[in-house]
Symmetry: C2
Subunit: 186 residues, 2 copies
């Protein structure tokens, strides 16, 4: 089951390495980005991880929704990994506007392994096709949820956002989904 | 089968993205690292990928073998991926000495997904243990070999080095394995 292994890989090779550094990265970012923006005080210190059920991932969030703007990247984290010295891990900060135009900053990205699921479903030699893909995304989501709930390194440092396509024709579906999760934790 | 998905992920999420940039990166590296070292003229322009059968991976190659020294990193490649802007991809260059002390530079790293295989075999909830791990490493190797042989983006730009432990007690087993592959292609 491909999704099972990708969920474990995403945790073991990424989330459990980077989430412990997240709060310090955000603090450093706020110190170097003192502008007229008080957005972070009413925002989240968690990594928002987007999981679209159709595995349809874009590389720039603002291309999905005009209420989302790229702000800047968090400072780099460097870790020696498997022979690569100082491998760079970073996250991007986006500003999300609500329907009233109020701005919220947050650290958000798609779950990268879904790119692999998507591409595998397009390659006939990879062994699974589009019909199985949705099942695999759900399996990825549940396995990841399970692992993260039991992880001390990751606790309270992330938010999984499952996106289904029912609001697909709403041009602000993505920003609204993120904002719903931002409000939920206050 | 975890190894099958990890091999596809390694290809789709990494090798097919970075291998097309490798030759240009090495050329830029040589231009900025003009020292008394002519090592590269008798070295390889390929990415050497180490695959130890016991999935036992170290993060610094020189800790495995005193005939290996970290030289420097290749220039960074930046790619927008799944919401992360300018995600950084890089490789490390190592100098490998043969038994006569002659030096060869090469771009080498372990296959990072093996770290996931190793860690999963240690986590009881992940679903497989140490006995299956060796099988999974072999499956990873064969699946990866298959995919790469059919890939136009990767052709002639890599070398898979399968390491078994029979020479485990030779402190220069790793450098010798790398040098055997370096010589093979001249
Ligand atoms: N968003 C995000 N930012 C990152 O920096 C990052 N690094 C890893 N991952 C995801 O975590 C999981 C575990 O990573 P691992 O390193 O074991 O496998 C990686 C690794 O073997 C290789 N790879 C990817 N990027 C690099 C890199 N920069 N250097 C070396 N190897 C890399 O290709 C595999 C698949 O990568 P992704 O398909 O991008 O997703 C990975 C994977 O799902 C990341 N996800």
């Amino acid at each position: 089951n491909v999704a099972h292994g990708l969920a474990w890989s995403f945790y073991l090779g990424y989330l459990r390495l980077v989430l412990p550094y997240l709060e310090a990265s955000i603090a450093e970012f706020c110190a170097t980005h003192q502008t007229s923006r008080p957005n972070w005080s009413h925002s989240s210190k968690k990594l928002f991880i987007l999981i679209p059920l159709n595995a349809n991932i874009s590389h720039k969030l603002e291309e999905e929704d005009k209420n989302i703007h790229f702000y800047d990247n968090l400072p780099n984290t460097k870790i020696d990994r498997a022979g690569v010295r100082g491998r760079v891990y970073k996250h991007s900060v986006y500003t999300v506007l609500d329907e009233q135009g109020k701005a919220y900053d947050c650290v958000v990205e798609y779950a990268t392994p879904l790119l692999t699921l998507y591409s595998m479903s397009q390659e006939s030699s990879a062994g699974f096709g589009e019909p199985e893909r949705r099942q695999q995304v759900l399996l990825f989501y549940r396995t990841l949820q399970d692992i993260l709930e039991r992880s001390l390194d990751c606790r309270n440092r992330y938010r999984l956002i499952l996106l289904n396509e029912e609001h697909g024709d709403d041009p602000h579906a993505l920003s609204k989904a993120i904002l719903r999760h931002l409000e939920q934790q206050e």
